[in-house]
Every structure is written in C-alpha cells, then in structure tokens.
C-alpha cells in the first residue's frame, strides 16, 4: 500500500481545500454533519490529543489487523490471541477524497477484541483518511469512527 505522507496537507485557504470539502459532502463522508470540514478536523484532533492517543501506533495496528485478516479470505483470523478479524474485500478501488492518489481497496475490516468483546468496523479508505489526514468522517457518516471508541477498542 502506498503512503501519501509526502503529499502536503491542504490548508483552509488552499483552493483544493474547498474542492475536497465539496467532494466529501457529495460522497457522504460528512453525512448529517453541518460543521465545516476545518471544524470537524480540529474537533477530532482536539479529542485525539485529549485522549492522549498515538495515532501512528493505532493506525499501524489497524493496518496489521487488515493485513492479517485478509489472509483468511473472508473467514475470521486470530491476531495475537487478542483480536478476531474478518476482512471482506470487494473488487475495485476507491479514490481518496483528499486527492492524494491513494488507491484504497474496497475492504471492510470487522475486528473483535476478544478480551473486552468490543468491536470495530472500518474500511481501508477510512483507515487511510484517519492516518494521513486526521479525518474521522462526519458524525452521521456510516463509517465514522469515534476517537474514543477507537481507543476503547484497542485498550
């Protein structure tokens, strides 16, 4: 999987930022959330900081769950005897709305923390947008991940 970390993140004043916000709204990534994109990003960044979350480490683990889970070809796979992971893959790719050319495979990861019983469901595009853009999606988006929920799942 390629990384877009060398791509500069668009800022609010960048013409690209308005375009990205428009694409996110059209694509339902901000569904049910009337806050401007900048506010959504800032609110979630503040929440991540408040919870003292290490997004680098967390998203690396999410990627590992995906990599291990997809070996099951749809069947659940145990990871570290802590997680049970199923990966559903469909053909095709999704373009990252942040226009960084990341070709996100159509994959949904469903993970269970066997110690706590908590579950986490995320797409690879959602994973990428959190990792590279700090974007957890709008409050009503079907693949919104609450930072606190993510932390709880992994704890």
């Amino acid at each position: 999987m390629t990384s877009s970390r060398d791509m500069p993140a668009p800022s609010t004043g960048d013409p690209l930022f308005a375009k990205i916000e428009s694409v996110l709204r059209k694509g339902n990534y901000l569904k049910g959330d009337d806050r401007p994109l900048r506010r959504i990003l800032d609110d979630d960044a503040a929440e991540v900081a408040r919870l003292n979350m290490d997004l680098e480490a967390i998203t690396s683990l999410m990627k590992r769950l995906y990599d291990e889970g997809r070996k099951g070809l749809g069947d659940p796979v145990r990871v570290d005897d802590i997680f049970e992971v199923s990966v559903r893959e469909d053909r095709g790719i999704l373009a990252c709305p942040f226009r960084d050319h990341f070709p996100a495979p159509k994959a949904v990861v469903e993970a269970v923390n066997l110690k706590t019983g908590r579950t986490l469901r995320y797409t690879i595009l959602a994973w990428h947008m959190i990792r590279e853009h700090g974007f957890f999606q709008g409050k009503g988006s079907p693949f919104r991940i609450e930072p606190a929920g993510l932390k709880d799942f992994l704890d």
Binding site: G13, D75, V87, E89, R91, I93, C96
Partner: protein, 366 residues
C-alpha cells in the same frame, strides 16, 4: 481568543470564496474555443478546456477509468503525441520512468487546450455507451443478485465472455453525482440483446445500494463497454478457473461459451470457494453444465460449513482444494476472479504448482 479567531476565520472565509470564484471562472469563463484532437488516424473537432478523458467521452470514445478521474486507478493512460503540457505533479506517482519517456499520460489529468494528438489502442473505438432496460432480478444469496438488462440503443453488444462493463449509477437520495463501477458480465455472449451482471452488495456502496434498493424493473440504465482482456485464450491447455462470491460472473460467461462451442477437450475445471452453504449458489446450473459438457468439472468448497449445512463436498480454503483435484499443472492456464486477497492467494498457489504467471489471467480492476 476572539481577537485571534475573528481575523483567522475572516481570512479563511475570504480565501475559500476566492477559491470558489477561481474554480467557477476556470469552469465557465476560460474559453479555449474549438480545437482539433487527433486520435490515431481520426480527427475530432472538440471544445477546448476539458480533460482529455471527458473530451473523448463526449466524442463517444471511452477510455477505461475506475476512479472517476481522480488520478488514482491509472487505467486511463494514453500516448500523448503532441499538444499537451509537461507531466503534472498529479501524474508522476502513477507513471513509470519509461512511460514518461514514451509520453504516456493520464487522460483524466491532462486538458485539451489546443490542437493535440494522441494514440490509443484501436479496440477502444469499439467501446460504446449503451442504454438498456432493467428486465429482471434473481436473488442468488442473501447479498448477491443477478441483474438482467435488455439493450435499447445500441440494440446489440459484441463482447468476449469474461469481459466487463462500466455501469453508471446515477444521482439518487443524498448521492449528488453519478459514479461508474465495473462489473463483469455473466451472460451468454451469443445473446447479443441482453447482458447479465452478478453483483454483491457492498455495505454502504453507492452503486450497489442503487442497484439493490433504488433501481426498479423497467427503468433505464446506462453503461459503457465492453472492457478488459480477461477472456478465454485460444490454446489447447487445460482450463483451471477459480472464483469466490460474485467472482463467479465472468467464469459463468466463459464456461457457457465453452459449453455452447462444445470445447470439452480442454477439460475445464471450476473451483468455487464459499464460506458456508448460504454463500453457495447456482450449484444446480453448474451440475447441469457438467452433464452437457462432458469434459467439465465443478468443484465447490466450503471453508466454514455450518453444522446444519449437511455438507459432504470439499472443505477448506479453495486454494488448498485445487491440488487435490489437479495432478499435472504443466499444461494448464489459470482464470481467476474474486477479491484481491483471493487472487493473490490463487496466483501464489498456481505459480508454485508450475503455471507460469503469464498464463494466469484475471481482471486488472480487481
């Protein structure tokens, strides 16, 4: 706090407004007039200013594209002969050094602003835009459906069994712009009036939600095609097909073609992987094909059969089942369709058994 926030928000608001004005100005005020676009030995008089991909589409020349023009899939590469700008930063990650030297460009990124010339494979001229009527649907499993469409205009389609189309999912509900999705045809290619698609519902997927929940029988749809180089090669080698889920689609089309052409000597064998019985479908149809095509064998396998599945067939991952049924791989070809994970696993197995990678075929869009 306010002393800082108000100027910051004002600047942000102002720049956003300016950005929108620039976008609108570029869209509506920049007039490049009519220009000549030479494609191979044809010349089109086109309106300048649009991307090459969209300009060609307006001329009914359809270049494959799976990402909606967002410089992600890299399927829309063409050879730019003259008349285009230098390679753009958005193209660089998707072009090799050799491609850049050979003037290969992403047609979704470069704009036609003046007279220009490109080269494309001749077969792309055969790709057309079709209108069709949604004729009927058949539930195959709890999340896979077969959709049948009758062509309106053009009224007939010529394609090779195994090829795919790009289906246009229009605006609906909160989806405010159309998207295109690639689906393999699962129909008999001799029936030129219809196409059939086998579609698995993608959770929250824009196009599959449209197909499953919004499209009504009798409504009109639009698609382009046929695309792809996944089709039966004209050799004498044994045919090994492997698929899972809706990946059965192109294999069905290929096998129906082999059966109607009475190609039995290639001893086709189809391994179909499913999790449990609820994921298995069309078994009777495949058994019927075994009776019609004496050389053909269908091997379904369940990786996690449920206790009440009463399953006596093969169990385990489909990649483990293959070598139980094929002894000599040296004169075989592989035809694969399924999730990227399945494809990777199958390629690994078939190569390890001695099939050269160039004799293993699957869709690029997978």
């Amino acid at each position: 706090m306010n002393a800082f926030l108000i100027p910051a928000l004002s600047i942000a608001g102002l720049t956003t407004v300016l950005a929108i004005i620039i976008l609108i100005a570029e869209r509506y005020l920049m007039d490049y007039g009519e220009v000549d676009l030479h494609v191979n030995d044809k010349t089109f008089h086109v309106k300048g200013g649009n991307t090459l991909l969209n300009t060609l589409k307006e001329q009914k020349v359809f270049i494959p594209s799976a990402c909606g023009g967002r410089a992600t899939c890299a399927y829309c590469k063409v050879k730019a002969v003259s008349g285009f700008s230098e390679v753009l930063p958005t193209e660089i990650p998707l072009l090799t050094k050799e491609e850049i030297e050979a003037n290969v460009r992403l047609s979704c990124q470069i704009k036609v602003k003046n007279e220009a010339a490109i080269e494309i494979p001749e077969e792309l001229f055969r790709i057309k835009e079709y209108r069709a009527t949604y004729e009927l649907m058949r539930d195959l499993t709890y999340d896979i459906r077969l959709f049948r469409f009758k062509l309106i205009e053009p009224a007939h389609i010529d394609y090779k069994a195994g090829q795919y189309i790009q289906f246009r999912s229009p605006e609906y509900g909160e989806v405010s712009e159309p998207v295109y999705r690639a689906y393999s045809m699962c129909s008999r290619c001799e029936d030129k009036d219809h196409i059939e698609l086998m579609v698995r519902r993608v959770p929250e997927g824009i196009a599959t939600t449209y197909l499953f929940d919004h499209l009504k029988v009798g409504e009109e749809v639009v698609f382009t095609g046929p695309f792809g180089d996944f089709y039966l090669r004209d050799t004498d080698r044994r045919v090994i097909c492997v698929a899972g889920g809706s990946g059965m689609a192109p294999i069905r089309s290929i096998m129906m073609g082999m059966t109607s052409q009475e190609i039995e000597q290639r001893q086709p064998i189809f391994f179909f992987g499913a999790r449990s019985r609820r994921d298995l479908f069309m078994v009777e149809e495949w058994r019927e094909m075994e009776r019609t095509n004496k050389g053909f064998t269908f091997v379904p396998a369940l990786s996690s059969p449920e206790p009440d599945d009463d399953w006596t067939g093969e169990t385990g991952r489909i990649t483990d089942v293959i070598s139980r049924h094929v002894r000599d791989f040296s004169q075989c070809e592989g035809y694969l369709c399924g999730s990227p994970g399945l494809l990777n696993a199958c390629v690994e197995v078939l190569v390890s058994q001695g099939i050269p990678e160039e004799r293993i075929y699957y869709d690029k869009f997978a």
